[in-house]
Subunit: 467 residues, 2 copies
């Protein structure tokens, strides 16, 4: 940990550092004119201590701009690598939501060490932000926003904004408060504000509708929906008395939306969501995220061996049935996976609600029957052609075998569509993330049942002939 | 189509319309104070002709605000249902990118009919926008943005913005052009502009770095990355001479990002991406999106029947081998699905590039071996316990059978991880969307090869005993 850098350490490193300092200063000078996001990208490619030295050589304002970037993953490491006074200065200057993020990512003992050096006021503010659960509006919000009392004029508001612009995350939304209760009355956009005459009251440029707000415990997915629905640049987070606690800005939301969909895709692929990019994640950490689900699915899939054992006599008498096991099982899994991906996404976007499960079931039942019939036609045609053309001999009862395959396909694809579409509802009802209904999970579930369906259909159709 | 509404039709409908008009006017009065997004939501729940009547009764400004919402799917239908003069008036007033969207969604003959009635200037502007390919920056951009020559002052710029505010999609970014060549020099934010003194030159409040721009043919995924990386509210789209053609705003981008991830999840689930919400899509249209891929996967999976036929003699001699076919096949599919979901997402986010394929291969090879060994241990343990506890008799050579299952699992899980991780690279290299490497696609691919691996391992280990 870098808080172990004592003056003694520093002296020991002096020779190496001198060289580095020259390089770092040169690089800093070269980068100073670039966009903060590009400087961050360049720092990401340097060794950590070089990056830290370059950051220290940049103008103060640039430092803060870089650390304020919501997707600059290196920032907590860089802050840890800086001398404590420097780190404290930056943490106080940067936006509160980002400083809170850094403390979330930092490891002990560096975390406590740095926190103890912060001014009491900053500590209190960060503690308030850090208390909210991860991915809640409270944990994403910043406390640097603009409020004005409702009895101000447009001109007073503009003068106020000019004075405080540097210290606020966004000034594009101005929150107008009741002068007595400090409750939120209206949200005024900067674009409407500048069109007002200076002597007009601030409320004259406010929209007629109530401001769109959210509560600190709202999940980021819901906040993203609000921002997207109302095309907001920021949404105020209010408590039960309509006091503004903070604001969540659109740029933080874009990162949250991208993160959420990455998690969804990874979960749907049948693994725990990674919290780091693929290439940056350690080999062992990555294995852990994958091995757990893979083993659970394997244990579930072991039931197929039980099902097969149960029908071993039938298998021995009609070995021809085994030829189609993979084909039939996978068709059930595929139709289930399609249905699941549709419903997970529709639930995530709020297109359908929990109470719509029966509407979905009424749609998936006929869908499954039609899709199953299409595959059954393909399967029966395949067996007929192979038999008649002499590619393979399925035995004297080949017509009955084809009928078994066809009937089993219709039943299994219908079962797959129904299971795949209902599973996300069941998971949500039980309080799990519907996205945990991964393609492999659905396939495993359908595989076991599919085998039982196949052999049952076979027993009915082939009874008295093959079985 | 609604352009067939002649005056005669209108007279015929008069009685019904009178009632509706009262309702619509009442509803419009009730909704007028709401946020445009909420009015849009309310309209969505009405019958189309009622919604159209309500829209017509709202104040002009509200009408435009509602139609300007990027995710209001009903807008093209409502516009079609309005009298032509009314529709033309709204199409001219609304933002150009949204008007272009509406024409993309409208069906003939209403589309050509309405277009012919637009003023020549609007027609030319829309034709320019409609010429860009779907999902390109050109197709998403709006042409209503703010430009000022570089020799203006802060005060002149502010006065200009106040005058044109109503007619521009966003005024939070002001594009400063070279007074002679009209090439883009700088992008100034409104927040910096209002902090400047009125007599200062506009360039005094410009950032030092060059403006971030994109070209009209850039895909929306790339534009989203720019907006997210640089935390922009809008990105200017420029031609080869740095002339600003339009701007893409952050609210359009959020919708694009959500749409892209829905498409990715649906494709990964093994189907064509839907272009409408699940519940709104017609039954037949939905079947078409699903049946195609399901049939292709089925035809691919038919190869498993060929593989099984090829090993039919071995199957008959060692029926015990069939018991583990579903278990082994699905493990390969699951490990492949995990690897694919990881790589698809990492490629989509730009965390890894095409040239990194060998790095990924070097990671997935040992991952596959370790994961395969874990599953092999579970599988061998299962067989041993069942055999020793007397749950099932796998025959006198059960140790060799267990060894076959274990070795096959290691080989197949490794093969699954490698195939699953390399397939997205191959697809991208061939110019396809890596997201087309769906979980069912990978599973099908791995199933067929998995069977061949399983029987080959069996032939080696069981040669001379069971086979």
């Amino acid at each position: 940990m870098d808080d172990t850098r004592t003056p003694a350490d520093s002296r020991r490193d002096d020779a190496r550092r001198d060289d580095e300092f020259v390089d770092a200063a040169a690089l800093a000078a070269e980068l100073a004119e670039e966009h903060p996001a590009d400087i961050a990208e360049a720092l990401d490619e340097e060794e950590r201590h070089t990056a830290s030295a370059v950051l220290a050589s940049l103008p103060r304002e640039k430092q803060v701009e870089i650390l304020d970037l919501p997707d600059f993953d290196l920032s907590s490491e860089l802050i840890e690598a800086l001398p404590v006074e420097e780190a404290v200065r930056l943490l106080t200057d940067m936006s509160a939501d980002r400083a809170a993020d850094l403390f979330r990512w930092m490891e002990e003992p560096a975390r406590s060490h740095l926190f103890a050096h912060l001014p009491a006021e900053t500590q209190a503010e960060l503690n308030r932000l850090l208390a909210w659960p991860e991915h809640s509006a409270g944990s994403l919000m910043t406390t640097e926003f603009v409020t004005v009392p409702a009895n101000w004029t447009v001109g007073e508001t503009l003068r106020h904004i000019r004075a405080i612009e540097r210290t606020r995350e966004t000034i594009y939304a101005i929150y107008v408060l009741d002068p007595d209760s400090h409750a939120l009355l209206k949200a005024v956009t900067l674009r409407r504000l500048i069109t007002g005459a200076p002597e007009d009251p601030i409320l004259s440029v406010a929209p007629r509708h109530d401001p769109i707000t959210t509560s600190p415990l709202t999940d980021r997915e819901e906040v993203a929906k609000l921002i997207s629905k109302y095309d907001l640049l920021a949404v105020p987070v209010v408590d039960e008395h309509d006091h503004v606690l903070g604001i969540v800005t659109v740029d933080d939301m874009i990162d949250a939306i991208i993160e959420e969909s990455t998690e969804d895709v990874q979960k749907f692929g049948g693994m725990e969501a990674l919290d780091e990019p693929y290439m940056e994640m350690g080999f062992i950490a990555m294995l852990k995220k994958r091995a757990g689900w893979l083993s659970i699915l394997f244990l579930g899939e072991m039931l197929t061996a039980n099902a097969m054992q149960h029908f071993e006599d039938e298998l021995e008498r009609a070995i021809v049935l085994t030829l189609f096991i993979p084909l039939i099982m996978s068709s059930g899994g595929n139709s289930g996976s399609q249905a699941t991906s549709l419903i997970i996404r529709a639930l995530a976007l709020g297109e359908i609600k929990l109470k719509d499960w029966w509407r979905v079931a009424l749609r998936e039942l006929p869908s499954g029957l039609v899709l199953g019939s299409i595959l059954a036609t393909l399967g029966v045609t395949r067996i007929t052609i192979w038999q008649l053309a002499g590619f393979h001999d399925y035995g004297e009862h080949w017509v009955l075998v084809a009928a078994t395959v066809g009937a089993a396909l219709i039943a299994i694809v219908t079962f797959g569509s129904m299971t795949g579409s209902m599973l996300p509802f069941v998971l949500r009802r039980l309080g799990f993330d519907p996205a945990s209904a991964s393609a492999p999970f659905v396939a495993t579930f359908v595989d076991v049942t599919g085998l039982v369906i196949y052999f049952t259909v076979a027993l009915v159709i082939l009874h008295g002939t093959l079985l």
